[in-house]
Symmetry: C2
Subunit: 286 residues, 2 copies
């Protein structure tokens, strides 16, 4: 028997899927965050744990691992030295490959064919794949990058709400809601900022969307700015020469209705998820 294993190791969860050579799913598992930021000493045991859980479900023991062809997509793999450090670990598998989590998402979305994805989540990043070569746009992190992401929407929400609090722009139901969230305590908001991460800022993203739908002028202006970034992202992606582009991530569906028709009609539905992409990379033929 030959087995295929795909792993998607990201900032909020780490998932695995094990199949036979016909693509029949034999086992799967999900654990918490397992990305490059935690360092290889912490990362490696988690990758092995999520592998073992899927293998256990499939009834495989460690002796069978030598028949497993594995591919891991890891968030933040571009951190200096990480790829080499992973490749130097003793592999229990028949074959093993590592790449970024954005690349497996792209491979999955287009079932291994050339294409591009724009992921709109806590961060934002575009991944383009032509003739097996990868390129990314954005995704350099918050606050220097990741326009139109959840974190970016959150930062814009707070910036606009403070301007409204000052009387520098109009107050709206939306800006008042943001300030009320901090109990109208601006010093408390400033103290919150001192420790706030991209994930903390992204908590405000659904509020912007919701208020935009209700016609709140400030939320609407933030959404329009995000839409301009997203449409620019998509136009540049197609200029690179790909035939297909998928919008992915938690903010993909909320933003879809705001895009202009001539942009949204160019987008394709995804043909698979990131674990499909990892399985294709491991050698599975779909």
């Amino acid at each position: 028997m030959v087995y295929f294993l795909g792993v998607d190791a990201g900032g909020s969860h780490c998932r695995s899927r094990l199949t036979d050579q016909n693509g029949r799913i034999l086992g799967s598992a999900e654990i918490g965050a397992a990305n490059a930021r935690i360092g290889i000493a912490n990362l490696w045991p988690l990758l092995m744990q999520v592998t073992e859980l899927a293998c256990q479900e499939a009834g495989l023991n460690k002796n069978d691992w030598s028949s497993v062809h594995a591919a891991f997509g890891i968030a933040g793999l571009s951190r200096p030295g990480l790829q080499r450090a992973l490749e130097e670990m003793p592999s229990p598998f028949a074959a093993i490959r590592y790449t970024g989590d954005d690349e497996i998402a792209n491979i999955g979305a287009h079932r291994g064919h050339d294409g591009a994805i724009l992921i709109l989540g806590t961060g934002s990043i575009a991944h383009i794949r032509i003739d097996g070569k990868s390129e990314t746009l954005g995704g350099y992190g918050f606050p220097i990058s990741d326009e139109a992401s959840g974190a970016w929407l959150g930062l814009e929400s707070i910036r606009h709400s403070l301007r409204a609090y000052d009387g520098r722009i109009q107050k709206t139901i939306f800006t008042e809601r943001v300030i009320h969230h901090f109990s109208d305590d601006i010093l408390g908001l400033v103290a919150w900022m001192d420790a706030a991460t991209a994930t903390d800022y992204a908590l405000f993203a659904p509020w912007v969307i919701e208020a935009g739908i209700e016609g709140d002028p400030v939320a609407y202006s933030i959404i329009q700015k995000a839409v301009a970034y997203i449409e620019n992202f998509i136009e540049v992606i197609f200029q690179k020469g790909v035939a297909r582009c998928c919008l992915m991530g938690g903010l993909a569906a909320p933003f879809m209705p705001w895009l202009s028709n001539h942009i949204s009609c160019k987008l394709s539905p995804s043909q698979g998820d990131a674990l499909d992409g990892a399985l294709i990379l491991s050698g599975l033929k779909f």
Copy 2:
């Protein structure tokens, strides 16, 4: 004899000025940063040190301090509990007052009369004083506030340069200069961001101004955005009912030529500095 002491305690330096009752300067001193962020246990000895240095220059010993009327303008004084903690310290002076460093700058700029200032430095804040009552706009910190400040210009510089690096906007001499500063190493830039403070971002502010003067289209677009914020700040300031407004801080002069005539003609030159303001607050009649 009666003496007057003014102290301006800020994020980059702390200055003192001692005068007699005719406003004749008897002594002055300057030490490094002494603001609210370092906590009262660290702040108080620095305030006493900068006082003692000015008094030494004037030939005053500690017995004479009971004839000194003092006022301290302190950056970040609005931090919860700080004002009260300072007021509870045993005062060696005849009288002592504490306020924000923005307020003494405003009092100094208008020689104690009602007025407003817009400070454009590492951060940006407007301070308005009408009938002795104070109000501020902006100044909540970076990145949630302080539009058109040095830190804001720096963040916009990096954001635009990364977009240009991606091919999402045009590359220019300015965006290339920013990326070259990081040795064209985007991962290095991301690592820099992880630890970058407002002061670090503000280092790019002179580059934006310089490139804008040379006609660089990206730098120009950032400056135009900053100018829109500055003009909005100034318009809102006058709507509050003040007769005079001064532009202050290290970016005041660089931005002056970019403002439209109908805005810049409303601005007044400053009649004094922040130490003048502190001295007025301490009771000195100019």
